[in-house]
């Protein structure tokens, strides 16, 4: 691949146009007044500038070619245009005032780099300030505010995103275009991404499998590359927060800068949290009333450390950025959740920050290179990555039938190496037409050890070729594409030391050697009809497929985190689906809103079915019951219907008052017998009233006040053995004050979730299965310091 890149660079040099050209112009508002400090940049090379007091900008030193120009300014609708630059060019840009007064509005979305309104699927963008205003312990929880997004949780720190009731491998999480490769099949396997590191998140609901990967049948959570920042500026950002419910301390430091040629970015963060409080003194389990000492869930404390560094070059031939990161999480699991809860395990151990057994430790190392290189008039984007995910589960060995002398507490050790490479060639790009040809390749090597067995060691090869086109005809935009995938699995035989009643019995085989090959296609066609400039209807039809993952193929053991005995099926078929999405979006002067519905049918949907058998080990013709977990859960396949929708509405009352509401509903059930699948999020309605004003009494500090009311409907029709959940009403609020001092900007605030300290349950939490309520009132105090030493009246800086 490296050689390929060098060749690409050489080709880029050969096609270099002789002369360098410049792009200049003026940015004005609807009244013709100049707009200062609007960011103007070329997407492909990240060359850019900011407008001066007269609204003027200039980007020199551009090579002739086709570019995508982005213009952004807080409070205005973003502007983008496809430009074919052959000679020095001057343009005038009119920006329209938007209702999103607080943040910049996205100019591009998805791999097609168009405005979200051109995309046949709904794309939402969240900035870091939206994610961090509210107390959240992890990324998935921070995204829950959006309609159609929920989180599958285990305690406070472990959580994974759910899109329209689907999670695991069906939600593709990517960072800088590279798919996050952890052990994402596990319901209790959190996302190994530092939430403090990201600047912008892109969420695509619906099958975005063509460009991202065939797994993305439910949607994509994409951590977008951070912006390069203003040329000539170096910035520092310090964030601290304290959270009451689990006495969490979070600290993060960021430094980034852009010299015009070189860009860099560093992030360090640390989170330490104690056992979390629940608004209950006891819980009923197995007919026993078990105490919750000190109102806390014993052993739910944890620690997260993360570091992230980026270094790159931005030139007029393109850019190349190298990112390296490490994420380390250590979190205790509530003792009562692994096996039969016993009163003594729940007793307060004297230290609420102590992380005792059972616990899980996850480390994720990642190196990514992202490049974009000009080849004639076209662009070649490439992403290269290496990732290593190490997941360890620790537990008391004699609780698993091992002798006391057995000292190793490593129940499960999984180490996964992943190499990924993406190449996307953008060609024939103008205002009306867009074409992209892409290739994705990947290699995975998984090793496993530990005294428990769950999934075997394996090797996996992936290859995919895809093509996406987009054409505009008058008010219609048609997007279409095809993707071919090949996946090869080589799964190795696993032997396991079998102990029964503390005695070594012998070796048993947990899975044989086997190979599986999958070759399949995905296709989609989407249509957007622009009813007016700010109103559109979109329809997307897709044929998707997902290759089974390792646990679906070969798991055979107790899934430590969920305490279920899970059994894969080596003969499982690929999952295929027909998916339709229909949406409407309208943006007015004072309000904007959208409605989306989806209706999907999957032919061989893979799900975990509780079976009629208890877990046991067959050894020398005899059946030995497995120590504690009860039932065997088998991976089975059935045709399913998946449908639902979301609606959202934003209303700007006046210059300082805003109202947001959103509602969601989703449902998954088998089409042959009507059986409901587990972990479907309840229908919900979320409402927020937000006020933004300047307080004279506080030297014109900016104040933001928000009150939210969340309603989660009761869920009564459940999957087999899944407990019901009653309705929940939650109140939340936040207050933030920020002030521009001479030495920089300081924001501080107080926010609270579950203000009424309501006792409620969440069927998306694994602790629901043992009747544990969700966390109680949670107050968070946060502080953000953004020092600045930039010279005042900064002029638009030339690039290079």
């Amino acid at each position: 691949m490296l050689r390929g890149l060098l060749i690409a660079i050489l080709i880029a040099r050969m096609f270099e146009a002789s002369g360098q050209i410049s792009l200049s112009g003026r940015v004005i508002n609807e009244e013709g007044e100049p707009l200062m400090a609007a960011g103007v940049y070329l997407h492909e090379t990240m060359q850019g500038s900011y407008t001066d007091e007269s609204g003027l900008f200039s980007i020199p030193n551009i090579k002739a070619g086709n570019y995508h120009l982005h213009v952004q300014l807080t409070g205005y609708h973003a502007y983008s245009a496809d430009l074919s630059l052959r000679a020095d060019t001057q343009i005038n840009i009119v920006l329209h005032e938007g209702i999103h007064l607080l943040h910049e509005v996205t100019v591009e979305a998805g791999m097609t780099k168009d405005q979200p309104s051109e995309n046949p699927l709904q794309v939402s963008i969240m900035g870091e300030e939206q994610i961090f205003r509210n107390p959240a312990n992890n990324l998935s929880e921070g995204l829950k505010r959006l309609p159609g997004i929920s989180a599958l949780q285990t305690g406070m720190g472990i959580s994974r995103p759910v899109i329209r009731g689907m999670s695991g491998n069906r939600v593709l999480v990517a960072e800088n275009g590279i798919k996050q490769e952890g052990q994402q099949w596990g319901a209790d396997h959190g996302l190994e991404i530092d939430p403090f590191q990201l600047e912008q998140i892109e969420l695509i609901k619906g099958p975005a499998s063509l460009a991202y990967g065939s797994d993305a049948t439910a949607g994509v959570v994409h951590i977008r590359p951070a912006s390069s920042g203003k040329v000539g500026e170096h910035e520092l950002k310090w964030r601290s927060a304290y959270q009451s419910v689990n006495h969490a301390w979070k600290n993060a430091l960021r430094a980034k800068g852009n010299t015009g040629k070189w860009v860099y970015r560093f992030n360090l963060s640390h989170q330490r949290y104690g056992d979390y409080e629940v608004p209950a003194e006891s819980f009923i389990y197995n007919g026993y009333l078990l105490p919750l000492y000190e109102g806390r869930l014993q052993n739910t404390a944890g620690e997260i450390k993360a570091a992230h560094a980026m270094f790159g070059i931005n030139r007029n031939w393109g850019y190349s950025h190298l990112t390296a990161s490490v994420y380390d999480q250590n979190e205790g699991l509530f003792s009562g959740s692994t096996g039969i809860a016993r009163a003594y395990q729940l007793r307060f151990d004297g230290d609420e920050r102590n992380i005792a057994l059972p616990r899980q430790e996850v480390r994720h190392w990642k190196i990514i290179n992202n490049s974009n290189i000009k080849i004639g008039n076209h662009w070649l984007e490439s992403d290269l990555a290496w990732q290593y995910n190490r997941r360890q589960e620790f537990s008391i060995p004699h609780a698993h039938g091992r002798p006391v002398s057995f000292a190793d507490t490593t129940a499960l050790h999984l180490g996964l190496h992943s190499f990924s490479a993406n190449a996307r060639y953008y060609f024939k790009k103008d205002q009306k037409q867009f074409r992209m040809l892409g290739w994705q390749g990947g290699r995975q090597i998984n090793e496993q050890s530990g005294f428990e067995f769950l999934i075997p060691a394996y090797r996996n090869w992936q290859q995919a070729l895809f093509y996406i086109g987009r054409d505009a005809f008058g008010p219609w935009t048609l997007t279409y594409g095809l993707r071919l995938d090949y996946q090869a699995w080589d799964i190795y035989r696993s032997r396991y030391d079998f102990f029964y009643r503390y005695e070594y019995m012998g070796e048993v085989e947990r899975n044989p050697n086997f190979n599986r090959r999958f070759f399949n296609y995905s296709a989609s066609a989407g249509l957007v009809r622009h009813l007016s400039k700010h109103e559109e209807v979109r329809l997307n039809l897709a044929r998707t497929f997902r290759s089974p993952n390792i646990s679906e193929l070969a798991s055979n053991g107790v899934h430590h985190g969920t305490f279920r005995y899970e059994m894969g099926n080596a003969d499982i078929k690929a999952e295929t689906g027909l998916q339709s999405d229909l949406g409407y979006h309208r943006e007015g002067r004072r309000s904007h809103g959208s409605v989306q519905t989806f209706f999907n049918h999957f032919g061989n949907y893979i799900y975990l079915q509780p079976s009629g058998r208890f877990a046991s080990i067959d050894f020398e013709g005899e059946r030995f019951p497995y120590p504690e977990p009860g039932q065997v859960f088998e991976y089975r396949q059935a045709p399913v219907f998946h449908w639902g929708g979301e609606a959202e509405w934003h209303f700007r009352w006046n210059s300082w008052l805003n109202w947001h509401s959103n509602a969601e509903y989703s449902w998954i059930q088998q089409s042959n017998n009507g059986a409901v699948l587990p972990f479907i999020p309840p229908a919900s309605i979320k409402n927020h009233l937000e006020a933004n004003f300047y307080l004279r009494a506080l030297d014109s500090s900016k104040v933001r006040l928000e009150i939210g009311y969340l309603y989660y409907a009761a869920r009564k029709r459940m999957a087999i053995n899944e407990p019901e959940v009653p309705a929940a009403h939650l109140l939340e609020a936040s207050l933030e004050i920020s002030h521009e001092f001479r030495f920089g900007n300081i924001s501080c605030g107080l926010s609270g979730n579950n203000l009424l300290n309501s006792l409620y349950y969440n069927n998306m939490s694994r602790y629901r299965w043992i009747n544990l309520p969700e966390a109680g009132r949670n107050l968070q105090f946060f502080l953000l310091y953004h020092p600045s030493w930039k010279p005042h009246n900064q002029k638009a800086n030339p690039v290079n």
């Binding site: 003194e281 006891s282 197995n286 007919g287 026993y288 009333l289 078990l290 105490p291 000492y293 039969i340 016993r342 009163a343 003594y344 395990q345 004699h398 002798p403 006391v404 009643r501 503390y502 009813l531 209807v537 329809l539 339709s580 229909l582 409407y584 519905t597 209706f599 079915q609 509780p610 079976s611 009629g612 058998r613 208890f614 046991s616 059946r623 030995f624 019951p625 120590p627 009860g630 039932q631 219907f641 449908w643 059930q669 089409s671 042959n672 017998n673 009507g674 059986a675 087999i720 053995n721």
Partner: protein, 259 residues
């Protein structure tokens, strides 16, 4: 817009109104009856008033069961494991904690039977749990039935209570003396005293007396217990827990009323 939405809504409606062709079994199977050596053990398990049942070392115990399901039974699992409250976890020199599991294959809608549980000689005396779970063919799992079982052994410690005399009734803020004789054929290790609400919750008195240094087979227990003035009135349990060097545990629980 409306033209597109209508067919999809109509489709959804038609489909959802004719989806339930096949009957789904979501009814949990039921554990109707559990007996330990002929005594009814099931009906005490779901109240907080846990009765305990005795099984003895070097003796076979009989566990009788009767189960039912609306469609088809699959498997019954019985499981005995120690409930030593974490004080002793694991194997001692001469005695093992007792554990026993059995999976009984079932069929039909109603079935009953008796399992023989052989308890070996070299097992630890003390509190155990008998846990029962039942599955039907569709994968529905029953409510678990958890029964407190006391395993007795000839060489476990004994306790005879001297004061207070039963029925034990005291008022808040008062103090009383707990006394009695602890005896064992081996060395005693520790005596624990606990006073806790009958229906669970945190104890209002707790004391551990280490006897490791004194190599003795008999100990005169004398302990002053103060009832906090802010204790809630109601039914309590006064527990004397004795452990010997072998790991045997003897628990004596006395009903107590605080008013």
């Amino acid at each position: 817009m409306k033209k597109l939405l209508l067919p999809i809504m109509a489709f959804t409606f038609i489909w959802s109104s004719c989806s339930e062709e096949e009957t789904l079994d979501s009814e949990k199977p039921l554990i109707l009856e559990i007996t330990i050596n002929g005594e009814d053990a099931h009906h005490s398990s779901h109240s907080h008033d846990h009765e305990t049942f005795e099984i003895s070392a070097d003796t076979a115990s009989l566990i009788g069961w009767e189960v039912s399901d609306n469609m088809e039974l699959s498997e019954l699992r019985m499981d005995i494991h120690p409930n030593f409250d974490g004080h002793s976890h694991g194997k001692k020199a001469d005695y093992d904690p007792f554990s026993w599991e059995k999976i009984v294959p079932l069929s039909g809608k109603l079935q009953s039977g008796t399992e023989t549980m052989e308890v070996p000689e070299n097992v630890l005396a003390g509190p155990y749990h008998l846990d029962l779970l039942l599955l039907d063919k569709s994968g529905n799992i029953s409510e678990s039935v958890l029964i407190d079982v006391i395993l007795t052994h000839p060489s476990q410690p004994t306790f005879s209570l001297l004061t207070p005399t039963e029925p034990i009734v005291f008022s808040k803020g008062s103090t009383f003396e707990l006394s009695g004789t602890v005896e064992d054929d081996e060395d005693l290790e520790e005596v624990m005293i606990e006073l806790l609400p009958h229906d669970g919750g945190e104890h209002i008195f707790e004391k551990e007396i280490e006897l490791k240094a004194q190599v003795e087979t008999s100990y005169e227990l004398k302990e002053l217990i103060g009832i906090p003035a802010n204790a809630e009135s109601g039914e309590y349990e006064l527990k004397v827990i004795i452990k010997d060097h072998d790991g045997h545990m003897t628990i004596r629980a006395y009903e107590m009323t605080i008013n």
